[in-house]
Amino acid sequence: MTPPVIKPLADSAGALVVCPPPHVRTGLGVRGLSLAGLLALAPAAIMAMGNFGLDAARVLALAGSVAVLTEALCLRLAGRDVDVDNFSALYAGLLFAFLLPASAPWWLVAMGAILTTSLGRVLFGGFGSNPLCAPLVAWAMCRISWPAAMDVDFAMAASAMHEPLAQLKYFGVQALDQFEMIDLLLGRHLGALGAVQIIPLALGGVALMVFKVIRPYIPLAFLAGVLGMAGLLHMIDPSLYAEPVFHLLTGSVVFGAFFLATDTASSPVGRMPMILFGLMAGVMVVVIRAWGVYTDGVPFAILLVNLLSPLLDRVRPKPFGAR
């Protein structure tokens, strides 16, 4: 047993507040971080409702609420404090919803949201301990288990719009002439409901960087990786590989760069590891798109590089005095 702490002169009547130094802080706190993330997602969510109608709102609301309820239930079962009021579970749930087609059936949304918090986070010890980006774990499970419901082009067959990446994969570069740059920017093409809202996502992401909620290393390296690899392939054979900007504006590249790859727990720390992490993930995206089975390479690329985080963390400078 630890001996009791004896404080001479301490009188309970005029007790002071005691707290550890330092007496100044910039950290936002988990709640602040989640709120900043939610705020950055808000324009894209509104735009998604504009483009896909109430269906998008339905998916967002369901995923968010189920994620929060699952987290609360899991914490209660584990006998831990229920801290869903820090909004991190809601944020994770919405991130998952952003990856779904707007027509996703309710059971798929609910299943994914349950997997996001249970398998993605709570199983590994909660927010901050997950080795893989939690929404992507759920996305990968759903994508493999229910391919038809998760395939955007198939699930949204009733829509008049096309999915650029599916067009690229199945009809080649020639089929891409149908897409105007402005349509791609405004999200007027098929894709995951939130991830295709390029302009609001980029605005939200840049705002997060400007207000120093996230560091620029991972997003910028990620985008550079995508552009670099796509540019290289396009240079080798323009008739076979699409332009780099096309890769940037389709699928969930922008969403992944600012919101998924920067997931704190699953990404490395330190400047060099972060840059390497972003570059590798970006390159992997184009590799999967060019030669993989899946149309949008972003989720699997980030998941794969997440596995390398502990290794990348070892790339670090020698401590002070060791040179």
Binding site: P8, L16, P20, L28, L33, T264, G270, K318, F320
Partner: protein
């Protein structure tokens, strides 16, 4: 988001003021062997407690008076009638070892006074919230020069450099070389100061004396009496305060009003401890007293690390505070050491920037203390 001011330079420094004598003294004696007892009448400068450690200094009665209460941590005195102890004639001490012993008896810590090639005088304020170092440099130059000649005699350096912030009121010190560094915390921390001047991270043969230590040396050299006062920043101004003055008195004299829910910090903004009682006496190591108003600083949270990497990107020692503190949290002190716990300067920058607001500095100090008392014992 809050922008932190890490500036160490104080542009306007008022002369150091003398504080009104308090009606009661609580002299800190924790960990020392007591040399007095309840009911004894002491002269000013009489020994109250002796430090058992090598190179550490004794503590003396800062006013004449009567001891009314003794505990393991404090000796309480009521100031009253009485004279002072007789001064020691330092000029008659020829031997260096004898001199160091004498200085320790007079309340000066002699640990930094080893023989070295290079003597650095750290003229920077130790951290934000403290201006007492530059105030001493601006207004107590004569005493500092006395201290410097004594320090030179013991350290025997071939070069002596005063490191300053380049502030307007801070000038040289005798015939000491002057070098200016960018005065931004943590530049004032010893290893970083040595690196800024010598360019080496593993500089051997360098002794660093901060201005407060030099002032203590100078006080002893000029008066021959034990050190019984500290120069402390209270609010905006700097004061000379008898050791053991209760916080309540120092705050009132300094014009600070403590309300419900405030934190009283003993020391600077970055590393200062929070006081637990207004009756606590000021120790010799205290450099500043300040108030942190309720709600001004977001409280620490008992949350797990979220691995954002801010601490790693800011650490001046290039460590991974996120790993060190996680090991410390789960009592894995050997692993914390492998991550460089012993290299850590304890500057507290990691804790200021922590996104999750974890008590990083607290955990690091805890781990260091555990290593010191259990693993190294």
């Amino acid at each position: 988001m809050t922008k932190i001011d890490f500036n160490l330079r104080s542009d306007h420094i008022e002369p150091i003021q003398e504080m009104l004598v308090p009606g009661l003294l609580n002299i800190p004696v924790r960990g020392m062997s007591l040399k007095t007892a309840r009911g004894k009448k002491l002269e000013k400068g009489a020994v109250v407690a002796q430090h058992p450690g090598q190179g550490s200094a004794d503590v003396h009665a800062s006013l004449a008076g009567k001891v009314t209460k003794v505990s393991f941590a404090y000796v309480t005195m009521l100031p009253g009638e009485g004279g002072g102890v007789a001064p020691v004639d330092l000029s008659s001490v020829d031997d260096d070892k004898e001199m160091i012993r004498t200085l320790r008896r007079l309340g000066v810590s002699a640990t930094p006074l080893m023989e070295s090639e290079l003597l650095l005088i750290n003229g920077l304020n130790p951290e934000p919230g403290v201006t007492s170092a530059e105030a001493l440099l601006a207004h107590e130059k004569d005493i500092l020069i006395e201290g410097l000649s004594l320090a030179r005699r013991l350290v025997k350096p071939s070069r002596c450099i005063l490191v300053t912030s380049g502030g307007p009121e801070v000038q040289g010190l005798g015939d000491c070389e002057v070098q200016t560094v960018r005065a931004e915390y943590p530049a004032s921390i010893e290893p970083l100061l040595i690196k800024a001047i010598t360019g080496k991270e593993n500089a051997e043969g360098t002794a660093v004396l901060d201005i407060h230590a030099l002032w203590e040396l100078g006080m002893v050299a000029t008066t021959g009496l034990p050190v019984t006062e500290v120069v402390v920043t209270v609010g905006e101004n700097n004061w000379r305060i008898p050791v053991g003055t209760p916080l309540r008195h120092a705050l009132a004299e300094g014009g600070l009003e403590c309300a419900e829910g405030d934190v009283v910090r003993l020391g600077g903004v970055m590393r200062g401890e929070a006081a637990y009682s207004l009756d606590q006496g000021i120790s010799k190591q205290c450099r500043a007293i300040g108030l942190v108003k309720a709600g001004e600083v977001a409280p620490v949270e008992n949350v797990p690390c979220i691995n954002c990497g801010e601490c790693v990107l800011h650490c001046p020692a290039r460590l991974m505070p996120n790993l060190i503190t996680r090991y410390a949290e789960f009592d894995r002190f050997e692993d914390a050491r492998k991550q460089g716990l012993d290299i850590c300067f304890g500057c507290g920058i990691c804790a200021t920037v922590c996104m999750a607001r974890r008590p990083l500095l607290h955990l690091i100090r805890f781990a260091k203390e555990q290593v010191r008392t259990t693993l190294d014992a």
